[in-house]
Amino acid sequence: MTSTEFSWDKSANNRAASHLEAQARVKLSDDVLISNIRWFIAFRWVLIGALIVFEILVLLSSSDTFVKLGVSDQHNWPVVVIGILIFANILYIIALDYLPPSRYNSPTINLWAQIIVDLVCLSVVVHYIGSTSTPVSFFYVLHIALACIFFSARESFYVTVLVCIMDTVVILIDNFLFAQAPLSTLINKHFSIESSPQDNALLWMIFLDVLFLVVWYVVSRLSLIVRTHEHHLADAYKQIKRAQVEKDQYALLITHQLKSPLDAIRSKINLIREGYLGETSSEVTHALEQMDIRAKNMSGLILDLLRLERLKTSCHDTAQFQSTNIYTILKKCIDKLGPVINSKEMKLNVSVNDFYYQCIPEQLEILFENIISNSITYSHHGTSIEIASHQIGTDQATVTVTDHGIGIESKDLPNIFNEYFYSPRAAMHNKSTSGIGLSIVKIAAENNKLKINVDSEPGVGTTFTIIFNNVTSNAA
């Protein structure tokens, strides 16, 4: 005896998902970190440039001007800081691009190294420019904010503590060990003249440290919220993707189930027609042919529905876009439609040049196949169809498909691309219309950023002009 237990409890999956979410909240993915490391490195080059300009200015002007501004006497510190930053920046690039990733060479460690080196350099700058005499200490806030964005709340707190310690040490050294810094007017404006420079420095230090902690708290809270939302978005996107795959499978299954019985019937009809089941009278053969035509049209409709469904769901998948030779696509369609053209004794005049367009090749094939077969369907026996390409300017091209068939009445023209649009005049000419051929064309055109122009005169014929923008003469 076989026994199977069925369970449709979804909570297990949800639990796993919320655990993942908790993990994702802690940190950003390595890809995001790496792209930001590159941005930091680029930003640091700009900063190095600014420091070089600063150094040149110092050399050009008398140092008195800077002392007056509250900047302490210049030594060789800018050169040393510039040297360290250049050397470190090169090391980060080497670690990121040229060394294999390992336990000791991860994006997180790279970022930590950058933050520590930057903080040390900034502390040197703060010390020499003036820890309490200029607002340069506020640059520490930048590092706290960035750490909050890229690290977990705990790690960014460590960075904040590090910043507080460095700032405190710098202020203490400046004001209590050497007492060399000329305290500027800046402080004196805000605090009473009677208070001693040391008291002011102490106040300034406490004020900055509190500010750093507040900034950490606010920014890390905000970044946590943003990160949670970002994760929800990514989750929702994944669910949509999964639902799309399931929907496609369902559509495929339904198509299969609907079409299979028709295929079985038509297979048997073919056996009789080809004489595998003995001789049949011409009346029977004729009746079988009529049955086959009806069954074939229904099969076509079922497949068209699946095609339409697929086109609708694939519209935003940019990964499928590739530079495609339009002539090759057209050639494929023409080859495919050859038997139908021959059966109506029609002539196809093709003069198309090679040009390339960024598109989804399968969809463009469906587009041309539908437009050309539409032209064939509504053409009269023995007429011709012209397919031609024209280059307009350097980057625009058109492909025109012209038939000499029944044409479209002006009142119907605006509706021809609508789903299931039914024109009695067209239906009289072609009893097997599924009515969705041109809606397929519309969606394929939309997905591939194409414009279509239709000119028609009843009784004379119709021209479909497909307009391609941004074409190239070579494969991109």
């Binding site: 299969h256 079409k259 299979s260 056996l271």
Partner: protein
């Protein structure tokens, strides 16, 4: 030597039709209801077919595709074609470059084109051996 063809389809009408057409043309035909039956039969060397005609949706949505991959890996000398109601709609399930060598025929069974495709495939194979 009589060439042997295996046909896997869960639709008895299609199995009958294919069998009738191929037998009349001189082929030995083994029909299977499921891919598993067919794969089991391959263990017996004496009835290993020269060509396999596979439906796509048999036991599962993709059993035909996985069987095709299995044949390609384990029996590379065996030719295989798909005969499916879905026709070219199964193309997206193949890698970009396989368009040239994956042969997909859409149902219904059409005697002339079925025989033409099979003859061409088997002739190709003989050519390779020679």
């Amino acid at each position: 030597m009589v060439l042997r063809i295996a046909h896997v389809d869960d639709d008895s009408d299609i199995r009958e039709s294919v069998q009738l057409i191929l037998k009349k043309d001189g082929y030995e035909v083994d029909s299977y209801l499921t891919m598993q039956d067919f794969l089991d039969s391959l263990k017996n060397n004496t009835i290993r077919p020269n060509l396999a005609i596979l439906d796509v949706m048999v036991e599962s949505m993709d059993s035909g595709l996985t069987t095709f991959a299995n044949l390609h890996k384990n029996y590379p000398e065996m030719q295989a074609i798909f005969l499916t109601s879905l026709g070219d709609m199964i193309r997206p399930y193949f890698e970009n470059q396989s368009h040239e060598w994956v042969c997909i025929m859409e149902k219904p069974v059409e005697p002339i084109s079925l025989l033409a495709t099979i003859n061409a495939r088997l002739k190709n194979k003989d050519g390779q051996i020679a």
